[in-house]
Amino acid sequence: MRIAGKGLIDRARPVGFRFDGHRYEGFAGDTLASALLANGIRVMGRSFKYHRPRGVLSAGSEEPNALVTTGLGPAQEPNVRATTLELHEGLMARSQNRWPSLGWDALAVNDLFAPFLGAGFYYKTFMWPRRFWERVYEPVIRRAAGLGALSGEAVTQKYERAWAHCDLLVIGAGPAGLMAARTAAEAGADVILVDEDTVCGGRLNAERLEVDGRPGAEWAAAMAADLAARPNVRIMTRTTVTGAYDGGVYGALERLAHDVAMRPGAPLECFWRINARAAVLAAGALERPVAFANNDRPGVMTAGAVRAYLNRWRVAPGRNVAVFGNTDDAHRTAADLVAAGVHVSALIDARPHARCDLDVPFYAGAQVCNAQGRHGLEAISIARASGIEKVQADCLAMSGGWNPTLHLTCHMNGRPAWNPDIAAFVPRDGAIPGMVTAGACRGDFSTRACLEGGARAAAQALETLGLKAPEADIPKAEDSAYDIAPLWAVPGKGRAWLDFQNDVTVKDVKQAAVENFRSVEHMKRYTTQGMATDQGKNSNVAALAVLADATGRGIPETGTTTFRPPYSPVAIAAMGAGAQGKGFAPERFTTSHAASVARGAPMIEAGLWYRPSYFPKPGETHWRQSCDREVGYVRGAVGIADVSTLGKIDIQGRDAGAFLDYVYTNTFSTLKVGRVRYGLMLREDGFVMDDGTCARLGEEHYLMTTTTAAAGQVMRHLEFVHQCLAPKMDVRFISVTEQWAQFAVAGPKSRALLDDLLDAPVGDMPFMGCGEVTVGGVAARLFRISFSGEHAYELAVPARYGDALFRELAARAEGLGGGPYGMEALNVLRIEKGFITHAEIHGRVTADDIGMGRMISAKKDCIGKTMAARPGLSEPGREQLVGLKPVGAVKELTAGAHLFEQDAQAVSANDLGYLTSVGFSPTFGRFLGLGFLRDGRERHGEVLRAVDHLRQTETLVEVQDPVQFDADGGRTRD
């Protein structure tokens, strides 16, 4: 019911919205919860387990009951708290965990079975038969209990992530936070002031308190305006600091206002990482409910929430309101209700010594012990010394005192301390390095104490930054003492709720204690208290107080569970913003990408790169036909392949040769200028790291190539060896992988093609020679190297000419009876020739395993040499590289198949090795494979079983030399 008065709503801007299909109206500035209450809607959800009707409990982000689902399809968002959901035109919200409707929910029958559904009931009930758990029990339980559901569709809305830096981060913009921010701003610090609400002010927006002689909300707005005008202050509202991390890093979730988020390209939410040199935590406090029978009736809410709805949103949550508490807040609430013209049917103060100066029915030293009204509160029962009295009320404002919002101080393992004066946990100083606490979050509850505390905390933080805070001018404000009589649970029959969201009652916690789950961590897990989306914000302290009582210990001895990030729920989409799809795996394209795609080549991933698989021709129906044809180009005419993805590292310096001798097993300092050599690189533990060619372009200038896969690793390795092991060497490296486009021109007609294309004929460049050439006037590099076993070259041009050169090469090759070839043909060609890739050098093979043991030079030290000499790395019994060909009835080989003796069972005990690479060789007209076989070099000619357990295939293979094509290398050299 809306009442007169200004509040923080804009009555000139009505807003239409829908809840469960019905149309309602509220005002700009409303939350969904305040607008629903204004429309007389009290039931906003159903509880998790018992499906009890629930109304709103709070007015903030801690809300456990009023959770709704918004949006449809990919935009569907479950468990949105109605208390923080800003009302906007066209909002459509739906209630959750009910069927068929919120008013009549079939599973409310669970409530009748409550005696059987207590803590741990499913561990005890659904034990037999065992296989029923996964198939029957769990799915049924999951469907019956729960909150909102996801749509199952991928998110299409935009989320963002961003970084921010500041001298001082102020978390919370209530009186303490505002004072801290202004103090720091005046000292010249760069300040970020963050608050989860839409406006600054904190509790000042919800109370009738005055600051500096003005209404608190007005003072806060003026402070915020003053701060916003300063160049060294940034105010971030709608932003929740969700976690405190190492080194002054804070995670924060910013929700954009609906009208902003709806702009084209705008995100819904932004996840911030804020780097702060120092921080002030001024997060306030959360009011705790009192546990009594049926305290979950719609209409029972915290007293602070009632005041917030009254003062901020001008909504009376009831016509006939009772107030129950154990501090002066109960009286403040009653006074606010009276001032707003709402009838107060009872003011119940649990403190026996309490006095009342209001003209309302007053019960001192009494407690509310029950609540009636299934779909909304109708009456309460008041227990007093003289007996139980029933009083009519459609709303109960309850307060069990306040818990400081100290969650962030626990994120780095900090443990709070118990303060008996306020019957609450308070943060310990220094729990987060660089963070100081101020105001209600450290247990200072009066407005004046908050204002003072904010200024003091800022001064303290500024000192650590070497800044001097000006003398703070603390405004006049209320400074009443906090007088509390601890009250957790009212004794009596019936279920008294502690954790509203997970349906955990006082009885459940006591049951846990009886069953010896006495540790607070065990109790929590057994009862699920504090494990819902509110993470126990409303229930933790009360639950552990009940546990302490049940186990005969004090609260400090019982201790608390650990608060972990995030403070309030964060969508995974926000945390992972920018890291999906291309953000997770950026695409790297070669210069020939467009031309390859235009030729219809399917592009396959090679790390982040995309490379053509094959280039289909009209009439070809299977990739193998294309591959076979392309192999034929290289063996019979000339083929063109983009090899730019191989890592290229430019190495220069006086000690470049000596350095290469140190990282390669073989010698490069003796390589002549204009020559290329194949090099093998080991890890320090003696296993093969990578291989490739290295060209000497000048006396002090080399160009190393790495495999595509290991380019980054090799670069890192070179820097490591230089900076950490050989810092005196005069040598520098830079990656030029993306600066040069490089193409293989391979086949018997390769030289003819190049003679015609280059500005000057190739001449008599020897095999493994290199030199500078020009093509169309462009300076280029030519290397006579071969990965196919044919007479071949690689031609490199600056990347900007790559596209043009590829098109030209491909066209000229086609004129000579050849054409471009893809990764499939490249793979077949190298298997025929016994050349290895990372399928073979997979991290567990030594130089000796691949037949290159003699490449480790005896004349010098190199990385990996000492450990490669370990007896276990070269002695008999190791698996060695071999070639394999099928000789049985089955003609196909599969990579991954394992090798066994013909008469042996195909089990791991008899395993002799495995296939690493296979391909159909059109040159030989059969499959060929490479693999590793125990003592393989001595077993050429033997026939073994190759069994692929995964694909359920088996064939017989003959062992042979890895080099199956042109063993003497005549075709490469001629």
């Binding site: 970084w163 190492d246 890093v249 780097n275 820097e719 900076q723 810092p727 030290d861 040499k865 370990r870």
Partner: protein, 90 residues
Amino acid sequence: MRITCPICGPRDRREFYYQGAAVAIERPAPDAGAEVWDDYLHNRDNPAGETRDLWYHESGCAAWIVVTRDTNTHEVMGAELADDAKAERP
């Protein structure tokens, strides 16, 4: 977590590649013997407290640095270039 690169200043740890214990910069002589090499390559302390790690500023200046930090508190006490860290040793 933030690391102060001696060349670039304080940076987000995402810019760095983590290698492992800074032992890796003290490569033994080839003839130092199997035990020394085993210690160098494989045996690592697991300290509760101060530890020295090798990090690579991969998305920055490509410097290899030795970071001293506390495994109990996660505090980063300092960082120096690997070359400088070696030079300090006798």
